[in-house]
């Protein structure tokens, strides 16, 4: 009795497997790559991006109209430049990989663009914000769907000085990412009548910031501007409290993540940060993305840059569908992307492969959530930022 049941089951499974296999075999398999930080302090963002890119591939594979079957290779850059170069070399030297959505960390992306150029692999950056990634070179292989940190710091400086903060102490990580933030924020703060009273470079794995913060305390700034990523952002904010520093904490897009709030708990309240692109629920395709993401049942959220990762991967798949799985043709086709509709709004690449995203969204932490400033109780005057 049972053996018959087992036999029937096995037969059914085999039949299913064959059916699935033959359905796949009918289409040619094309490899694409996703690279992001899957381990380490910013892994939440990397995994959110991975899931989002994976969603794009899944939806495409489920689409009977698609010409190819796609396989997404996932590589972990650990947010470290040297590891990034290693995995980028691995992906780029694999001839079956046609294109990739790559990098959340600017420090990694700036190191790997040369590799993509050397091997001729077309990539779309989905999260790194350093301008030089696209503007520092003439590589036709490198594109980016998200904005750069220039506009972000413009809006940030204007807004912060407008809120009455005139003196800023800057803590930044010493990668090109942090240094870039220092540079652009410094320029714009001066323009809007503010002043930087001290800048402190810190390394990404530093644990104790009491020495730097004690010095900042003696400078007594109105606000502390932090140009870096979530893990040290959490440590610095928490140690500010330990030393009794009451200044306002202002971050960059690097701390817009749920991990920042989880890491700090109530201390995160009132933190300001800025990110390019409109908030997801105000985007044209935002509802579609959120619904599909929930449907696919990923355990982790898409995080701040998930939508960009989805858009990047989707654009890659569209292009391969159009011109076929050939690196050179994909590179050429991506060079002509103008006003292509996506879930993050229309994408247009300029001659450096940079998408022009003008909108910057201001965020503030309210009751354990990143809330768009205009919708927050801080804007309506119900709550007050630190003074």
């Amino acid at each position: 009795m049972t053996s018959k049941l087992v036999q029937a089951l096995i037969a059914a499974m085999l039949a299913l497997g064959l059916a699935a296999g033959s359905a796949q075999a009918a289409k040619k398999t094309v490899k694409v790559v996703f690279i992001g930080p899957l381990t380490g302090g910013v892994s939440a963002n990397g995994i959110g991006g991975r899931n989002s890119a994976d969603l794009a591939v899944r939806l495409r594979n489920a689409d009977p109209k698609a010409k190819y079957h796609y396989e997404m290779m996932v590589l972990d850059d650990e947010c470290k430049p040297n590891v990034g170069v290693q995995v980028a070399t691995k992906a780029a030297s694999d001839r079956e990989v046609i294109a990739g959505a790559t990098h959340y960390c600017s420090a990694v992306a700036i190191g790997t663009v040369d590799i993509y150029h050397k091997f001729g692999l077309p990539v779309i950056v989905w999260g790194a914000v350093l301008p030089d990634i696209t503007y520092g070179n003439d590589y036709k292989e490198v594109h980016r769907v998200n904005g750069t940190m220039i506009n972000q710091n413009d809006v940030n400086a204007k807004f912060s000085t407008g809120q009455g903060y005139k003196t800023f102490a800057v803590i930044h990580d010493t990668t090109d990412y942090g240094k870039g933030h220092l540079k652009y924020f410094g320029e714009y703060v001066k323009k809007y009548g503010g002043r930087i009273v001290g800048a402190f470079g810190v390394t990404a794995d530093q644990q104790d910031f009491t020495a730097e913060l004690t010095q900042i305390k003696s400078l007594n700034p109105d606000a502390i501007y932090f140009g870096g990523l979530t893990p040290i952002g959490v440590r610095i904010r928490s140690q500010m409290d330990k030393l009794g520093i009451k200044a306002q904490f202002i971050g960059t897009s690097g701390i817009v993540s749920d991990a920042f709030i989880q890491g700090l708990g109530p201390l995160a309240e009132g933190t300001l940060a800025f990110r390019e692109g409109a908030p997801l629920d105000k985007l044209p395709g935002g509802k579609f993305f959120t619904a599909k993401y929930a449907e696919a049942g990923y355990p982790e959220g898409p995080e701040a840059y998930g939508a960009f990762a989805y858009a990047a991967m989707n654009l890659i798949l569209d292009t391969i569908e159009k011109v076929g799985p050939n690196r050179n043709k994909v590179t050429a086709a991506l060079g002509h992307v103008k006003n292509v509709d996506s879930i993050v709004g229309p994408i247009s690449f300029d001659d450096h492969g940079q998408n022009t995203v003008a909108a910057i969204t201001k965020y503030v932490v309210q009751d354990g959530k990143w809330v768009v400033w205009e919708d927050s109780e801080y804007a309506s005057g119900k709550r007050k930022l630190a003074k």
Binding site: S43, G201, D205, Q207, A211, E212, T214, Q215, S238, G244
Partner: protein, 306 residues
């Protein structure tokens, strides 16, 4: 610089020094009884901190909300668990290596540390991400000008001090301590005097590992954050501190721990270059001290045996 800031730097430095000293004491105890360096010590600290964190989560599930009760449980569970882990490591990894080349022992314990660290990263739920360690101690603060001192920091410092005093009393005033010192001085003679060598070694490893667990929990309560890599750096610094102080001597370890913290603080504050160079300065000072006193500040009294 005004007095308040100076006091702030001193307070920060003392806190760091206490953590380093607690780790260094473990290294020096192990070396005393077995003449080995157990490099996985720093990662035992990490596992201890994560055990403490899990205990807290468990208590929260059980509905225990009294912070004092939580602190007590976290410390006790973490220390007990690590004492056990330390004894197990001693029994199954370190003791069988007696007589093996020192280099092999060093590498094996280093790799064991990697195994522990990677296990936390891979097998602890979401272990690759930093965890928010709860604030369980009262955070009332005293502010005197620019000097800000929180009650929890004071309590942690006193706790660390109590552990060090307890270890001191244990080593110098109890029968067990006498046995440990006897084994450290001469293993063969100690054995012929009827001391259970294995037991003494296991107990010593348990004590050292429990001290590391305490340092781990202390670290979590102080920084309100723990991550899988925290023990690596603390372990290396603790080892350097033990060496600079002079291996096999717990006063040396304590001295080394506070000295290292002092070097870092001075490097960050008083030197003309950027504060980021503080570790470069501290390690350079360690190398210079080793060149000056090749067997540490409080040297072991040994003679060359040929």
């Amino acid at each position: 610089m005004d007095a308040g800031l100076l006091a702030q730097f001193v307070a920060n430095g003392l806190m760091l020094g206490m953590m380093y000293a607690l780790v260094a004491v473990g290294f020096t105890l192990f070396f005393g009884v077995l003449d080995v360096i157990k490099f996985s010590h720093g990662d035992v600290l990490t596992v201890g901190a994560f055990t403490g964190y899990s205990t807290y989560l468990g208590l929260k599930l059980l509905g225990v909300a009294n912070p004092w009760l939580q602190v007590a449980a976290v410390v006790i569970v973490a220390c007990a668990a690590m004492a056990l882990l330390g004894a197990l490591i001693a029994k199954y990894i370190v003791m069988p290596l007696k007589g093996a080349p020192a280099l092999n022992v060093l590498l094996i314990t280093l790799m064991l540390g990697t195994v522990l660290r990677e296990s936390v990263r891979l097998f602890y739920p979401d272990g690759a991400n930093p965890k928010r360690f709860p604030r369980l101690l009262p955070t009332d603060a005293v502010a005197l000008g620019s000097f800000n001192l929180r009650l929890d920091s004071v309590l942690l410092f006193l706790g660390g001090l109590a552990v060090i005093v307890a270890i001191h009393v244990l080593i110098n005033r109890t029968k067990l301590g006498l046995a440990i010192r006897a084994v450290a001085q001469d293993e063969e003679t100690a054995k012929t005097m009827g001391i259970n060598f294995t037991l003494v070694v296991l107990v010593t490893f348990a004590i050292g590992s429990a001290a590391a667990a305490f340092a781990g929990v202390m670290n979590g309560l102080y920084y309100n954050e723990i991550n899988f890599g925290m023990g690596l750096w603390l372990g290396v610094i603790g080892f350097s501190a033990a060496i600079v102080g002079g291996l096999g001597n717990i006063y040396g370890a304590i001295l080394g721990g506070f000295l290292f913290a002092a070097l870092q603080t001075v490097g960050a504050v008083a030197l003309p270059f950027a504060s980021a160079y503080k570790d470069v300065f501290a390690f350079a000072a360690v190398i210079a001290i080793m060149a000056w006193r090749p067997t540490g500040l409080i040297a072991e009294r040994t003679s060359e045996r040929v």
